[in-house]
Amino acid sequence: MKKVVAAIIAFLFFVMFVSILNSDSKSLMGIPKFGEVNLAERVSSRYISKSVSEDAGEIIYGETNNAESGSANMVTSIVVNYRSFDTLGEVTVLFIATTGVAILIGGGKRQRLAISVNPILKISARIIVALLLVFGVYVFTHGHLTPGGGFPGGTIIAASTLLMLVVEDDKRVSKLLKFLEGSMGFLYVVIGIAGLIITGSFLQNFLPTGTIGNLFSAGIAPVVYSIIGLKVGAELSGLLDDFFAEEEEK
């Protein structure tokens, strides 16, 4: 009986939402038809042309110097430049959640796995871990040029930790990771306060933005994304390690 009621409620929600999607979009003034978005009406057009404070004209890859936000990847320029405050809050939420997990289930001894691992697998896993670490660092240092950035890069680093934890029965994550996590969060705030002192607003870009498309461009964007990458990598590695801790005996 309960399941029937649940199904009816879910179906009513579906019908309601679909009827909103199909209705005349002018009367709702919110949800446009799929694909018929006029970007010129949206605030994003200013992020794309990098003209939030003044009109910069056309931005050309490899030519434009000292644009407002010099990152070629526009999502990056939103995440760590125009709306960096949002990202600071997001990193804080991640930090609090991982701390909560550590308080709840962390701290015990390392859980033994039921199966024994083949030595060939162990050695090849070490090679893959090294490659994964390098790839993770590549992803977050090139976040302003290519798809990716701090969060995917950190997740790739955490994936290498997971592989190591699964293969090696007695390994634990180093205590230094906690220190790295905290110091990187601190550095993010320090960069924000440096922006406050130099330019007058929190987390504003204070480095020269360079030519669009170069590795050393985009001002603080690669710096902040490297900080986020290291922080997320350390945080998620610690999280995985907590899940490998032994349950307490009652």
Partner: protein, 113 residues
Amino acid sequence: MIQYFSVMLIAVGIYGLLSQKNLVKLVVSLNIAELGVNLFIVSLGYVAEGKIPILSPIVNSSSMNFVDPLPQALVLTAIVIGVAVTALALSLVLKVKESYGTIELDEIRGDNS
């Protein structure tokens, strides 16, 4: 089409949240609903024939037709927070299993209605 699909995912998630009694299944339902919401937000920024919002040697000028980068940036935030919430919820489920010996909501309450 993708919008209907994402709304369907949200509805599936709501159905799971309302009908299931297993705590792990509840966490999975929450994740399905969240996935639907993320897909829906990304679809709101789609421009027909739009390019990816990354300047490169091929896509080399800001006057081209791009998809909206803002929903993508917001969904990036939402995904990371979703991972954090899921991890916290699963560790709570582990704690419930430790102290009650079960993860079925009925058996925790002690009534079998």
